[in-house]
């Protein structure tokens, strides 16, 4: 079972979380073209090794987290809030 160290709640079972998706996508602006959106929505890398992904602590603090996880071993290198301001808060409290 994957255990995720939520910066707010501590280490919890992955069953408390919902998987989001690729955390590296820069979603285009709403005004952007269909082509740019197509790139952002449908094309994904199939990474072997560490990838940055989002997880939602849906049965916990409700925060969206950026998790660096190995797709091979499930090893998790880092967990931090997706929101940049919250990232700073967590960093400062360390």
């Amino acid at each position: 079972m994957i255990r995720i160290n939520c910066p707010y709640c501590g280490e919890r079972d992955h069953s408390e979380f919902s998987y989001g998706g690729d955390a590296t996508i820069n979603y285009p602006s709403l005004e952007s073209s269909e082509k740019e959106w197509t790139e952002a929505i449908f094309f994904r890398k199939n990474i072997r090794g560490f990838q940055l992904e989002t997880w939602h602590h849906s049965n916990g603090c409700r925060m969206w987290l950026e998790v660096e996880r190995s797709t091979v071993t499930h090893e998790i290198k880092s967990v931090r809030p997706c929101h940049p301001d919250l990232q700073k808060v967590v960093e400062n409290n360390k």
Binding site: M1, L30, H74, C82, H83
Partner: protein
Amino acid sequence: MKSKRLNNLGKINRDKTLNFTWDNKRLSGFEGDSLASALLANNIGIVGRSFKYHRPRGIFSSGVEESGALVTIGSKDRRDPNVRATTQELYDGLKASGQNAFPNVNFDLGGINNYIGRFFAAGFYYKTFMGIPPFEWGKGTAIWMLFEKLIRKAAGMGSASRLPDPDSYEHAHDFCDVIVVGSGPSGVAAAIEAAEKKLDVILVEQDSELGGNQLSENDFSTSNIFNQLKSLGVKIMTRTTAFGLYDNCVVGLLERVTDHLSIPDSTLPRQRFWTIRAKHIIVGSGALERHIAFNNNDIPGVMTVNASKHYLNRYGVLTGEDIVIATNNDSVYETASELSEAGANVTVLDSRTNIEVNSNKNFEIREGFVPYNINGRKKIDSLDISKSEDINKVDTINCDQVLLSGGWSPAVHLLSHRGVKPKWDTDNACFIPNDTKENITMIGSSRGLWNKDDCIASGVAGATDALNRLGISKTNYFFPKPGGWKNPIKPLYEIKYKKSRSKSFVDYQHDVTADDVRLAHREGFISVEHLKRYTTLGMANDQGKMGNIIGLSLMADLLNKEIPEVGTTVFRPPYTPVPVGALSGRNVGKHFRPLRVTPMHQWNIDHGAKMIEVGLYQRPWYYPKQNETLSDSYIREATVVRKTVGICDVTSLGKIAVQGPDATEFLNRIYSNAFAKLQVGKARYGIMLRDDGIVMDDGTSWRLSENEYFMTTSTAAAAKVMAWLEELLQTRWTNLKVNVTSVSEQWAGAAVAGPKSREVLNECVEDPSLITNENFPFMGVISTFLKGKIPCRIARISFSGELAFEVYIKSDFANTMMDLLWENAQKFNGCLYGLEALGALRVEKGHVTGAELDGRVTIDDAGLGKMASIKKSYIGSAMRKRGVLSADNRETLVGFFPTDLKETFNAGTIVCEKNNVKGQGIGRITSVTHSPELGHWIGIGFVEGGLDKWKNTTLVGADPVRNKQMDLKVVSPHMIDPKGERMYA
């Protein structure tokens, strides 16, 4: 075989007799017995019949690797098939019976399979699919259907009870620093070392007693270990199997709480399914003794050497009188000596020569000899033996038991669960564990250590490894080298029988013989994974604990390779079977999934509601009067709503508070229609699209103040929408100053719908002047007070198409609100209405819900294209017209009437063109109802090209599931009051 109970030896309590039955025969054993030891004490030799050939089978082992003594325990609703007699503790009143035999295991008509066995060789199932040679007679499914019935009856194991399980099971959770699996010398040493260093330690033992294989020793006592561990604060879990290792040092345990009791405490669960989250795992799971393949090596009376020792020293049972031990290693000599001392006549065949043995030699050793063939059918009469160098029968020994030791296989299963492949140790002829980066350490004989001092040293080393990895210490440690016997083991897997048609078993339980492995090789199934599937080698309950290595060696031999080159199959959880009951735990019956009720749940029931589950919510379905049926009731309710007024619990809708200076901008981005200019005190119906342009959900948002909105979502999508809004705010639009809070549980809601709804509200609010048509227009929102100064929010919105309001109140006041609304609705001959009437009313109006917005539908498909703003960009706006989503012949929302208005139809009906009723048709009906207003059945759904294309054409509704067909007329989905005059009244 002549097995018997001795008057001395063993750790059983001879003062306490336990009565039990075996195939309805009354027998007795002692406290401390296993079912297997009690059967042996009663000289029961045949305890089962084999899977395919129905050959008589006895007890092969004394532990979890048992592949012969699989029996059924209990009766009726507590009948438990395929229980290993070797691990089942005896209790008073235990009922056990043999399985896979008719009429019984002693005399089994299925035994005929043994003589026609060549038809059942490996790949039998696959070959019957191909028809019977030489003309592939019966090829196809017909013959398979015939065979399947016969095979299912003839092959297989016990059958499970079909009655509901009367027992309860529990899920339990725990945390610790170190979990130690196995309480043999190494495990105990590791637990002590870790506990002395102040770690929080759990020790798990599958047996009822601590000690591991020391329980097979004459002079071993478990109580000292127990007390020492207890005093160090180790949490000891016996009768508990670590069945699997998972990511992040999570261990799955199965604790058998009452399986050993005559009359279990009714407050206890039968079994507990534990999830342990550890920081480090130490596995001392021991090693399993292998058998040797030779002709008739499965006749009752064949057993592993260590099992015989276990029965002798733990249970005081001598398993034979004239015993031949066949070995290729040193582990048997202590046993030989002890069996001899206990009164057996023992001969050891050692395949090796020039060996040095430390023992008092009260038995004969024949060096350089191997077993060749067992004579006998239901019991052993004699054993033909051969020289190990030149295989041929050279002598015959009269005996009633043959004990086998073909070497030992470390139980590397748990490490294998983590994807760590074991490595082959040529010196010790076994797979030993590889290192892993994870916090898992293998110790004891599961590392390939054969003597006790090495095992203890490895336990201490394992604990030190754990301490180091946890950063508590930095101490050097070393593990002893695998091995530990004086004379090296000489690999011995199979002794080939010279005559054809040998029955030389590799996997006892699945009746896989050495010939089957050779057949698989001949037919090209040479990869280990193919071999396994083709022959079913290692796929029985024991998962190849005894036979896998023999199978591998045979294949290696055929391929002219070494065993490690052939590979090893991957062991997967569970180590031993886990009952489904334990997996489901308490999540059965009413607790199968959570139940959500609205705050007026009891109020609804008290007022006669029949409830229905929607999502997880219990919602009022209909409120029958006297003997009304569902359709009587909903038709009346819908009629009353259109005529006077109805009250409906709508609490289950999702409710989200959207607050902050950028709330308006936020809503304007997520809804397809304009929200930028929504005034305070107004609500708007909105549609949200997904990124890819498909409709996600619909609902209303009420502007309560400059920076605060109250959003409603559909019941089913509430959680999804909430998570979506959070995702957008936390990951994409992080500069927006908006906060979203789920307030679904905080607010109770009721719809008041119908021409008299305003008059009802007049009676209910403190200040009726607020709700005149002028002050409170359609889509208006007010925050006011119900009578009794109860604050509430009211919006004038309509799902039914009538003049209607939704009233929301803090959940605590739900009953007060319902009392108040209902009391006044009755004054106007109103009614309570449920989900069925709600559905009828909305279908009449052509309003879409989850049945229509199924994740494939665009906003245009749903007929709501005018709600897609072209003046702004929003989520999904770039994608909603992409490619196929803008095709001309998209299925779009329409209404359906049956051409014959007396006809009915169902949701799910496939819409087809006349004379072309096939496949997926050209559309589908998604929601239907009887329309009280129109007086016949109506439906909404989708059809290619929409209303304009088909309004003058008769189509056909095909309902193959219900074997029904009817002619359809396509109409506008807005079947009643299309201009909405009633809503604005």
